[in-house]
């Protein structure tokens, strides 16, 4: 990891103010900031390399295709997939998960089959399965969490049975920040003849991901949460599964042959990439991945842990603050959810905003989990490796002032 202050120079948005205060950007779980390298890559692409892909018979278009396919290779390597044909470009995690539910799910789920997810899922890894179950008269089962917020493996063993066809689980929770035992769940799923779909949205920017070691059949994530542009994401799928699946959308690039009455599909992954893809998005995402690889994901993880080891105990020991989930910083991958006394999270977030601290308040698109914590919403602070101790201090100080404002002064 290079010098920290130098690294912070790579992120222009860090160096601006919000409401006339120093910005402490602590909403990285919603979307990450973008390094100069990524922004520059987009600029260069649009200035000099822009062309449509795949069907070009001229130099410019051929080069654009090469860049686009090179992005696939880079991402393949980043998550240790076996083959770049297993990398499908999507808009983001949500689209990737919907794709699996609408194709693999639609083709393989029969009435009475069971789909097993956890109570901790983001809506993007919940509603597609819920609706699939409703369409197919299949059964949706939820694995419970332990009191610590971790996936209860004993409950998983009860819920995942021979009737289970699909297990879907988040790699890292976007509310509590803990890591799911994906490998164990994958083994359980496979032993029962089911596949496992992993929501990697909160994992890829924080910990090294090896889809083969995890045993994931599908693994979905978003570019915008890992230093990349908006509108691009990745669905990894095992090739033998992708090959069995019918297409998701229909249009250009995804067919071999069109007759008036029927069509023949192209091979993977083109079969799943109908229409002009987000070419610049893929190219920009590749630059983001190269940036992360240059830092080294182990070092990124170590830095995250260092920041969390600093912030978590301070937050836990702030009077009136209730932190949800584990007290072990290693079970907070980038994310802490908390509440302050009886204050509503939305009121807290507004106060923190006035102090330059960007956090999120709400159910974080994970209503079942948040309700299971006994509340309607929480305040969430989420870190990235480019945050620093000053950001943490600013949060703690702003919390103190917020408490004072609502309990002392005005109220």
């Amino acid at each position: 990891m290079p010098n920290l202050e130098q690294l912070r120079q790579d992120f222009p948005e860090l160096h601006q103010s919000m409401n006339d205060e120093r910005l402490a950007y602590l909403d990285n779980a919603a979307t990450s900031l973008k390094p100069v390298a990524v922004i520059k890559r987009l600029t260069t692409f649009y200035q000099h390399e822009n062309a449509n892909v795949h069907r070009g018979t001229y130099q410019l278009s051929f080069n654009a295709t090469k860049q686009y396919e090179r992005a696939r290779e880079i991402i393949c390597h980043f998550i240790s997939a076996r083959d770049s044909h297993e990398i499908v470009f999507t808009r983001g995690t949500t689209e990737g998960l919907n794709l699996v539910a609408s194709t693999y799910g639609e083709q393989n789920i029969q009435p009475g089959d069971e789909i097993v997810i956890t109570i901790a899922e983001h809506h993007s890894n919940l509603i597609p399965w819920q609706q699939l179950a409703l369409r197919k008269r299949a059964i949706l089962k939820y694995i419970n969490l332990t009191s610590n917020g971790e996936v209860d493996l004993d409950d998983a063993k009860r819920k995942i049975t021979a009737k289970t066809k699909i297990v879907a689980v988040t790699h890292v929770s976007n509310v509590l920040g803990n890591v799911s035992p994906v490998k164990e769940l994958a083994e359980l799923a496979h032993k029962n003849g089911a596949i496992i779909v992993v929501d990697g949205a909160q994992a890829v920017c924080h910990i090294p991901v090896d889809v083969q070691a995890l045993g994931a059949d599908f693994y979905a994530f978003s570019g915008h949460k890992m230093l990349g542009p908006t509108g691009i994401g990745v669905l990894y799928g095992k090739k033998v599964l992708l090959e069995q699946m019918s297409p998701y959308q229909f249009g250009g690039e995804m067919i071999e042959d069109v007759q008036l009455e029927n069509s023949e599909w192209a091979q993977v992954p083109q079969k799943f990439e109908a229409g002009t893809p987000n070419i610049a998005g893929a190219v920009g995402l590749a630059t983001a991945v190269e940036y992360l690889e240059r830092l080294g994901m182990e070092k990124v993880q170590a830095r995250d842990e260092e920041l969390m080891a600093y912030l978590l105990p301070r937050l836990v020991s702030t009077s009136g603050v209730k932190v949800y989930g584990s007290t072990d910083p290693k079970q907070h991958i980038g994310v802490i959810s908390f509440n302050i006394n009886a204050l509503h999270p939305h009121d807290v977030a507004t106060a923190l905003d006035m102090e330059g601290v960007a956090v999120r308040a709400g159910h974080h698109c994970a209503e079942p989990l948040v309700h299971s914590l006994g509340v309607n919403s929480t305040v969430r602070a989420s870190l990235a490796f480019y945050n620093n101790f000053a950001d943490c201090d600013q949060l703690i100080k702003a919390i103190e002032e917020t408490k004072e404002f609502f309990n002392g002064g005005a109220r």
Binding site: T350, A351, E355, N376, S377, E401, G409
Partner: protein
Amino acid sequence: MGLDKLNQLYRAVILDHASNPHHHYVVPDATNEKTLHNTTCGDTINLSLRLDSNGTITDIGFTGEGCTISQASASMLTDVMLGKSRDEGLAIAKIFSDLAIGKEHSAKEVKLLGDAQVLTEIMEFPARIKCATLAWWAFQRALSDEPREEN
């Protein structure tokens, strides 16, 4: 900027309404009712009211969970609407919704909002406009004839 500016949002009258909300109940024998969610934070407002045969609002109440702003706003709304006719009520709610999206109204019209006038300061806190308007939308939806999902 710091927290000084917060005083502008969290006026005493707002904090009063929020901690001691008026008409905080479900109207028995309600003729109209609507629950709305604030997707931003998962908050909900349930608004119920009774129209008599003349179209007068003879009772109105709200329940639900929410932040200071949304609770205060709902409480203020019930104060203003009680005893108004359906049409008067809708006209007032429209003034509020209009102000929320930046449209202008005369001082006379704004006065019709009662305590809720103070909420127009919310425009300085755009992220909170939705909190303030949720109850007013629920009121409009409860009275509108839209055949949309009824709760």
